[in-house]
């Protein structure tokens, strides 16, 4: 599905006056969700930065239907909606918009349950690699070596591969995306909207506040993640995986930028040793290898 910027809606789905930090990747992501799905989406938001971003009742900075729900419950709430759409003859697409903590940790059972039942909804994990809303604590998606307020000497465990775990649920559509590549993300969302069943999209969302970089560099850092191969863009239909264009060329290791280009711009990695750096590189290579087994 090729999408051109000129053809996209110019409506504002994230309004001025929202309460995100400057350079927030979640507002970017939500804007793209609006551009892709418009007013069709019924967004289900668990506790996280995106609850705050909406601003204070009775106003909201998000011009879409939004249901805020308990931290662990978002997939289940969306499933409930999906299951009565037909019987109640209601339109709209239930879209979960959940952080990495809500997705990979506390809400993981809900997510897995909805996916196993193949409930008809789109689940987006907006992954800023930590619990940002509560002040930058580690999640199971925080990378090895990263400083967070609960891993002050650097995290000692690797992140888990949630997109692959979701792929192995054998859902009809799994994809990764990045806030640096809106057209890729939007086209994946649009494709997901045409598929019946459970669709999972994992959106990489570098956060200036939590990762310690300048708020003007959000998109740059997100791009670097792809260019060094640390974030791999793919989609999988019927659990057959294929790389999508921004990542295609990085299949060739030599085309990737040096890992340092990505690491050195982030304050959370400032204490990383040379050993840690090599480990990081190995992790990237292993992830590619693992991923390619599904192509």
């Amino acid at each position: 599905m090729s999408i051109k910027i000129q053809g996209l809606s110019r409506d504002n789905y994230v309004l001025p006056g929202h309460t995100a930090c400057p350079g927030c990747p979640e507002t970017l992501g939500l804007r793209y969700v609006g551009m892709a799905l418009g007013k069709d989406s019924i967004i289900v938001v668990p506790a996280g930065c995106s609850t705050i971003i909406q601003g204070t009742l009775p106003k909201s900075s998000i011009a879409m239907r939004v249901i805020n729900v308990p931290f662990a419950s978002s997939a289940s709430v969306a499933s409930g909606i999906a299951n009565v759409k037909e019987i109640l003859k209601i339109g709209g697409i239930p879209v979960v918009w959940a952080g990495d903590g809500a997705t990979a940790d506390i809400g993981f059972a809900s997510l897995s349950g909805s996916a196993e039942r193949n409930d008809d909804l789109i689940y987006i994990c907006v992954d800023n690699e930590a619990y940002m809303n509560t002040g930058i604590q580690r999640s199971s998606l925080t990378p090895y070596g990263a400083w967070t307020s609960t891993t002050v000497t650097g995290k000692r465990e690797d992140r888990k591969e949630v997109p692959l775990i979701m792929l192995l649920h054998k859902i009809p559509y799994t994809a990764t995306a990045s806030i640096a590549f809106p057209l890729d993300f939007i086209s994946k969302l649009r494709k997901a909207a045409t598929i019946r069943g459970f669709k999972y999209i994992h959106l990489h969302a570098p956060c200036p506040t939590g990762w310690r970089f300048d708020p003007s560099k959000t998109v740059e850092v997100a791009k670097l993640a792809v260019e060094v191969g640390a974030w791999i863009l793919f989609e999988a239909e019927q659990h057959k995986l294929r790389l999508t264009p921004p990542s295609n060329i990085y299949l060739d290791k030599h085309k990737r930028k040096h890992i340092k280009d990505y690491i050195s711009v982030q304050g959370r990695f400032k204490d990383l040793s040379e050993d840690d750096l090599r480990r990081f590189e190995d992790f990237i290579n292993n992830t590619w290898e693992l991923l390619l087994k599904f192509t």
Binding site: I42, S60, I67, N68, V69, P70, S73, G80, V84, I87
Partner: protein, 391 residues
């Protein structure tokens, strides 16, 4: 109307069948399980139009029912004990969202150690969440109250979710004859689904974003006011239901031979039936005893209770639940209503039947007679609290 011999759990299932439910979410736990088993049969055999979601936890069961209800569905789920506790966070969210739905709670002890018998602590532990809470005495009341709760929760004066509790095994797995009203009768009794707002309508709404303190406090107060409104609605619905089926439960409480009583027994749930029998027997032996059955615990029937206590010497409260470190739950509610009574009333709370400890008519008679004896001998002895441990 037909009469069938049904367990309490099957009585709930029949009520759900009659209530034109759109979504049922199901997760097994003893002693609730046969409710969702029976409902899944109904769904698979196309006896009802509802969708059934076989979810991965009680938390998900509540969450999915909530999502559906937000979008206009009449929803139902059921659980017990650990399942109810697991879903506790969602209970708050559903009530705070003002979304009507109905939950059956088959009461069961909370571990450790594991124990599947009935006590009421699981149910009573949810008393602060903003749900209407009724506890049934027998299987007929289980069926009738489930249906009534759909009407009450969807009344615009109320717009709150409701839970119906009843004793595990003692009712859930015990068969009794139950009158099942005709579908047409219930159809006319239950109006089409009504709720305060719909998240799947074309309106761009936001539910539950950040709010300032005053707004949240006001919303809490609104729930409290709706609880107060619910008192009249519950009575009205009960009267209307009586016209259609011939059965009434007195609204929030049932006063059994308590009009001219000197000693009032207060309790909730299945054992109230036993207490009524003991009451009859004591009456025939010259004791002026009556039973006040608390049918709805939330909203709490303050007015009924105050009235019933205003002319008695003693009130004996039986609780099948306890707030550890304090009192039985009904006992403390009763005590809070003795202030300001013009008569000096002695109150005793008895915590009994915990973890399914058997409390038979002899035990109940003994406890009542001892209480009457203590008051008659000692005059005004204030408030006392006792535990009956069955040994």
């Amino acid at each position: 109307m037909v009469t069938k011999v049904l367990t309490g759990n099957y009585a709930v299932a029949e009520a759900v069948r009659l209530s034109n439910v759109d979504l049922i979410t199901a997760y097994p736990i003893t002693p609730q399980t046969t409710i969702v088993e029976r409902l899944s049969e109904f769904v698979d055999m196309k006896l009802i139009k509802a969708r059934l979601m076989r979810v991965e936890s009680e938390f998900a069961a509540l969450a999915a029912a909530y999502g559906a209800a937000l979008c206009g569905a009449r929803a139902f789920t059921a659980t017990s004990s650990h399942g109810l506790l697991f879903a506790h966070e969602m209970l708050w969210w559903v009530a705070g969202s003002r979304v009507p739905m109905v939950l059956a709670v088959v009461t069961r002890t909370v571990g450790p150690p594991w124990n599947i018998w009935s006590e009421h602590t699981d149910f009573m532990g949810q008393r602060d969440c903003g749900w209407l809470m009724a506890l049934a005495e027998n299987n007929q009341e289980i069926l009738d109250t489930t249906i009534q709760l759909y009407r009450i929760t969807e009344d615009e004066e109320v717009y709150l979710p409701g839970m119906l509790g009843f004793d595990g095994f003692l009712l859930s797995h015990t068969s009794e004859p139950v009158d099942i009203p005709d579908e047409d009768v219930i159809k006319s009794f239950l109006k089409p689904r009504s709720q305060p707002y719909n998240m799947c309508s074309d309106n761009i709404l936001t539910m539950g974003n950040l709010s300032n303190a005053e707004d949240v406090a006001t919303m809490r107060y609104d729930i409290h006011k709706s609880m107060e409104n619910a008192k009249e609605v519950i009575k009205e619905v009960d009267r209307e239901y009586e016209k259609l089926t011939g059965r009434s439960y007195g609204g929030l409480t049932e006063c059994y031979r308590c009009d001219d009583s000197k000693y009032l027994i207060v309790a909730m749930g299945g054992w109230v039936g036993t207490m009524k029998d003991v009451c009859d027997e004591l009456r025939s032996n010259g004791y002026d005893v009556g039973v006040l059955k608390v049918r709805f615990f939330r909203p709490f029937p303050e007015e009924d209770l105050t009235k019933a206590m205003s002319s008695v010497k003693g009130v004996l409260v039986f609780d099948k639940s306890v707030s550890l470190g304090s009192l039985g739950h009904i006992h403390s509610e009763v005590l809070a209503r003795t202030y300001g009574l013009s008569n000096k009333v002695v109150v005793r709370g008895v915590i009994a039947g915990l973890a399914g400890v058997d409390v038979n008519p002899n035990d109940i008679r003994g406890i009542i007679l001892k209480f009457i004896g203590d008051v008659e001998e000692g005059g005004y002895i204030g408030n006392t609290s006792e535990w009956f441990l069955g040994r």
